[in-house]
């Protein structure tokens, strides 16, 4: 066994592994003759979240709601426009202040797996070299890094003798995703951010990779942030779930609470939009009409109001804040906030 242990736990079990407060990322839109800024895409607009040690936090939402941007902020592949991140009690990137953690140390402890298994591998390198690359960069001797790579290949179910010298194009999509997972584990991270890791895979292969992720979490003592637009997959793998809409968190809570008693009208519609899997139970009315609005010009007040069947005047005026529905379960809707001015305020638990 040449794999080193992960970095030690600092803050203790009760200290969340990662917390963010008010993360913001706006992308400028340039256009016109001189490439002047015409506006901005409010991709992530004040996201606060908590990832507890050893859990899987699922993030769901429709295309463009800001899931990948959130992932890239968590990975610090993007700099947030505002907001802060605390990793195991240390402010990320604020080591200058004393007590913080440097970006370099942070990036060793947090790794990411992307949806597109092909684009994220170097086509000209045998896969064991790809996996050994990051440890070598971090000063692990070449022979040891290679041995580590072979151990990881075995851990993700690819027999090293058969696969180590293969190139990415000699692998199936599911096998390539296993390589990406092995690579993410090479530096022994504590947190792995999985952005749609099974979305490009066929169902029969998806189940293999999900089982693998469950096993690795156990054997490597990992914490996951698992991003997907597939509500069934998120329900399967997550302990807690965060629902995003147009760059913001609309609901957060334990997985069973969210799926059994969704509090936000958007979450309810999203869950009701899943195909029934029972042809005798077909419906005739869709839960929602229309498409999600453009994040360049999000609606005022509650961003869901243009599609919400319960929208009232207050919803256009005041952005709802998160209200607690049960311990650890919050929803940002005026109906959940007593005294908000919505006629059904307090009546959300229907």
């Amino acid at each position: 066994m040449v794999l080193p242990p992960p970095a030690p736990d600092r803050g203790g079990a009760a200290q969340p592994l990662l917390e963010t407060r008010g993360l913001v990322k706006h992308f400028p839109i340039r256009g016109g003759l001189f490439g002047r800024q015409m506006g901005e895409v409010r991709a992530v607009d004040g996201v606060s979240l908590t990832v507890r040690k050893g859990e899987t936090l699922g993030i769901v939402g429709e295309s463009g709601c800001g899931k990948s941007t959130t992932a890239r902020l968590l990975m610090r592949l993007l700099d947030p426009g505002a907001g802060e991140m605390i990793f195991d009690g240390d402010a990320v990137g604020r080591d200058d202040l004393g007590g913080g953690i440097s970006l370099k140390d942070y990036r060793r402890q947090v790794q990411m797996v992307f949806q597109d298994s092909y684009a994220s591998l170097n086509p000209r390198l045998p896969i064991e070299d790809t996996i050994a690359f990051a440890p070598e960069v971090h000063g692990v001797p070449a022979a040891e890094a290679r041995e580590r790579a072979r151990e990881l290949l075995a851990a993700v179910g690819l027999a090293p003798a058969q696969f180590a010298r293969r190139y990415p194009h000699e692998l199936s999509g599911g096998q390539r995703q296993r390589v990406n997972i092995a690579r993410a584990l090479a530096l022994r991270p504590r947190l792995v951010i999985l952005d749609e890791p099974v979305s490009a895979l066929d169902k029969s292969v998806e189940a293999q990779v999900l089982n693998l992720l469950v096993d690795l979490k156990e054997s490597f003592g990992l914490t996951y942030v698992f991003i997907s637009h597939d509500l069934n997959v998120v329900q399967y793998i997550s302990d807690r779930v965060l629902v995003m809409y147009l760059g913001q968190v609309v609901e957060e809570g334990p997985v069973d609470e969210i799926y059994a008693r969704p509090g936000h009208p958007y979450t309810r519609a999203l869950l009701a939009s899943r195909p029934s899997m029972d042809p005798s139970q077909r419906r005739t009315e869709p839960p929602l009409t229309g498409d999600p609005p453009n994040p360049v010009n999000p609606p005022s007040g509650c961003r869901f109001r243009t599609r919400c069947p319960h929208a009232e005047a207050v919803c256009a005026e005041i952005p709802p804040v998160a209200a607690t529905l049960s311990p650890g379960h919050t929803a940002a809707c005026h109906m959940a906030l007593p005294g908000s001015g919505h006629s059904q305020a307090g009546g959300i638990a229907a």
């Binding site: 429709e62 189940a207 293999q208 195909p275 029934s276």
Partner: protein
């Protein structure tokens, strides 16, 4: 209505027999479709369900003679009793977009970016039905309303890029329905859409299919989508249909080991904490025609006889067929 397509009980809307499609290039041969038989009755919705590379799109394109020149196509392809393979270019031009229309996953492949939505629909109506400009324009408005595009009148003058994903998909459906086709071929038209928009488009397609009495072949890799829209399902694996039957029966109790594995591996509610059943390995490369059961390398029930010949697609109970030597007629 076009006179050419009048399916009778003897001549179903689609009759496909022993379809083979092979792609040959200098360095690669792909046996994409290896003997597919399918029938579609008028007004029926058939889903072709299968994993990536199983030959769904190639089968669908063969029905419209839309495959590239590198494709070697053999077998009987009849649509509305007419031999599609024998059609010349001008016959095909009438056939496509008239009697038979097709919709795709990516609407921009079917829409022309330089013309407004209204013009594209009207153009199709004028070309196929010889309608006057004003009659065609009126029909365009009617169609946008039919596919439930809000503010339809205003949207007539919109260009495709000015519409959201869901509206673009609806616009493509409107173009496809312009000449009241009897047969609609749909290649994963909702796969790229968000959950809340996908269900809208599925329900729309189903209600249009019922209203217009169209036959539909709908390609998908998503069992749940098939459950929402299909009358019958054909499960494809490695270029062959391995199971076929009514959607309810198939989803409640698949017969073929691959179909069973697929159903078991599809994550759905209530599986939390349980280990998912999987199908080991991956589908075959298709550089050679399989000489035995193509699923044998991954099948948990494989026996000696599975390798010695290609299992036949047999009727197991009336209306249900499976291609497996262990699934015997009378079971099910």
């Amino acid at each position: 209505m076009s006179a050419a397509l009048k399916p009778t009980p003897e001549a179903p809307l689609i009759r496909l027999r022993d379809l083979h499609v092979k792609f040959e290039s200098r360095d690669r041969t792909v046996h994409a479709v290896n003997g597919v038989d399918l029938d579609l009755a008028a007004g029926e919705v058939l889903c072709i369900l299968g994993e990536s590379g199983s030959g769904k799109s190639v089968t669908l394109r063969a029905l419209m003679k839309l495959l590239p020149k590198t494709a070697k196509v053999t077998g009987e392809i009849k649509v509305g009793g007419r031999d599609v393979q024998a059609m010349n270019e001008s016959q095909l031009a009438d056939f496509r977009g008239g009697d038979v229309a097709m919709i795709f996953q990516e609407p921009m492949t079917a829409l022309d970016p330089v013309f407004t939505i209204g013009r594209q629909i009207a153009e199709t109506v004028q070309r196929h039905e010889g309608a006057s400009r004003s009659a065609a324009d009126a029909r365009a408005l009617e169609l946008l309303e039919l596919v439930q595009i809000p503010s339809a009148k205003r949207r007539l003058s919109a260009y495709p890029h000015e519409l959201s994903g869901g509206l673009r998909q609806r616009a493509m459906i409107a173009v496809a329905l312009a000449c009241r086709p009897k047969l609609l071929l749909a290649d994963e038209p909702t796969t790229a859409l968000d959950a809340t928009v996908q269900i809208q488009v599925l329900l729309l397609l189903r209600s249009l299919q019922e209203q217009l009495g169209m036959g539909v072949v709908f390609v998908t890799h998503d069992l749940g989508v098939a459950g929402e829209i299909a009358d019958r399902v054909a499960v494809m694996y490695a270029g062959k249909v391995v199971e076929e039957g009514p959607v309810g029966a198939l989803m409640a109790g698949p017969l073929h080991p691959y179909a069973k594995g697929l159903l078991g591996a599809t994550v759905h509610a209530g599986m939390r904490g349980k280990r998912l059943t999987t199908i080991p390995g991956a589908p075959p490369m298709l550089d050679k025609v399989p000489t035995g059961c193509a699923f044998a390398p991954r099948c948990a029930e494989v026996i000696e006889g599975c390798h010695t010949g290609v299992p036949a697609l047999r009727q197991i109970v009336p209306g249900r067929q499976a291609r497996c030597i262990l699934v015997a007629p009378g079971e099910g």
